[in-house]
């Protein structure tokens, strides 16, 4: 078992997210569904170890997560593409390579993997561009590539195609699924689209009014 969450309460400002019980297995794919504002992003932030629950228990790979410690090592096992992504004021390549460079990967290796990923995501034509020259859809695909290039065993995608052109949605979905299969990675993808949830995974986790139901 990859994740096991029990009786978790997590507060962001006035918003409260509760998870009674939720377990996620290694190598599976999950769709997180629910209306906008229901708490899908907060749930993914918990899975990415970016939020500290007020109470409850989160077990990751069999170890209970101790939030008083530095979580950098578990955080680095997760590749997370947030909704409404921010691109750094760097070139497209440097943006995609950022997660690798903070992990200390050699420059040449970064270059190779970034190039590969850009090709797979049909982003090669954006090479050498600066982030300000991208459309919203292109930005989101670059942000997605930035996460997928990490080779993480856990991939969290928050509304990954929200701003992507209809013509590219299929490519993105297919590439994500292929990659997860190749790496036997666990995929958690949130979406407000019922048909996308169906296409991506038979396992659905629904989030309603701040309550997560598995």
């Amino acid at each position: 078992m990859l994740y096991s969450l029990k009786d978790i309460e997590c507060r962001v400002g006035k918003f409260l997210l509760t998870i009674d019980s939720c377990e996620l297995d290694q190598g599976e794919t999950y769709s997180v569904v629910g209306p906008n504002g229901s708490g899908k992003s907060t749930f993914l932030n918990v899975l990415a170890f970016l939020l500290t629950p007020r109470s409850g228990e989160l077990v990751f790979r069999g170890d209970e997560v101790n939030y008083t410690e530095d979580l950098i090592s578990v955080r680095r096992e997760v590749g997370y593409a947030m909704q409404n992504p921010y691109l750094f004021t760097m070139s497209v390549e440097d943006n995609i390579g950022y997660g690798l460079s903070v992990r200390g990967v050699a420059t040449r290796e970064i270059k190779r993997r970034v190039g590969e990923m850009m090709e797979r995501m049909s982003l090669s034509h954006l090479a050498g561009r600066r982030h300000v020259e991208l459309s919203v859809g292109e930005s989101q695909r670059v942000a997605l590539a930035r996460t997928l290039v990490l080779d993480a065993k856990v991939i969290l995608l928050d509304e990954p195609t929200a701003s992507v052109d209809a013509s590219n949605v299929e490519t993105v979905e297919r590439t994500v699924l292929e990659l997860c299969k190749e790496r036997s990675a666990t995929l958690v993808i949130s979406t407000h689209l019922a048909d996308q949830a169906q296409r991506m995974s038979p396992n659905t986790i629904s989030v309603v009014d701040g309550h997560v139901n598995r």
Partner: protein, 230 residues
């Protein structure tokens, strides 16, 4: 017309021939202004970031003070510091009046609020997602702070440039605290004031051209950097 023409021709001669007085004035100006800008950067940038990022008691008060100081006339700063640094003043025993250090201190007081205030504004204007994005991609706390600073770099650099621009072109502090002593505290602006009153327009124009050139270079550097990395 001859009057102006002669002045310009004389100015060009002074610059081309590398007149000793001229070079000394320019180097004194650069020395004190760069020193004060460095010190104001080292102190102002951290304060600006702190004020922009953290909510603490007295934060609004600090911002108000910074904004007030930003528009303080240089002669007022000069006057206040004069009374501090004079032998009769509280810091008198240090004997700083009419030294380069006195100008540096005065210019630091001028540049510090600008650099801190503009840094605060720049950092506040940054996207709130930067740090979160870095963390989500596996950055540790230091790396996230670093990328945050990196995103703030143009704003911070612009703040530093604005601070330098103010001190390099100010005359009140240099005159009152430095005393316009030749080859020691005579800066470009105090020299222009002196030379104009003496009717030595050529030297005044030559120095004015340097002021103009420095302003131009600073702006070119700024825009080039910005254009390249944005």
């Amino acid at each position: 017309m001859d009057y102006l023409g002669d002045g310009l021709a004389g100015a060009v001669r002074i610059i081309v021939s590398g007149d000793a007085d001229f070079l000394s004035i320019v180097s004194v100006s650069l020395l004190v202004s760069l020193t004060s800008t460095c010190l104001a950067t080292l102190t102002g940038v951290p304060l600006g970031i702190a004020v922009a990022q953290h909510r603490f008691k007295g934060r609004g008060f600090i911002l108000m003070i910074l904004n007030t100081l930003m528009s303080l006339p240089t002669v007022v700063v000069g006057l206040m510091l004069y009374s501090f640094l004079s032998r009769r003043g509280p810091l008198g025993e240090m004997g700083l009046l009419y030294t380069r250090s006195a100008i540096v201190i005065g210019q630091w007081v001028l540049a510090f609020p600008i650099i801190a205030g503009l840094t605060a504004a720049a950092v506040k204007g940054l996207d709130s997602r930067i740090r979160q994005t870095a963390l989500s991609l596996g950055a540790d706390a230091h790396q996230a702070s670093w990328v945050f600073l990196r995103e703030a770099r143009y704003g911070v650099f612009a703040a530093v440039v604005a601070g330098f621009g103010r001190v390099f072109a100010e005359v009140g502090v240099s005159m009152m605290l430095g005393g316009n002593i030749r080859a020691y505290t005579r800066t470009i602006t105090t020299a222009i004031a002196l030379e104009t009153s003496k009717g030595e327009f050529a030297m005044g124009i030559a120095l004015g051209l340097v002021l103009l050139a420095v302003a131009l270079v600073v702006n070119i550097v700024f825009w080039t950097l910005r254009g390249r990395t944005e």
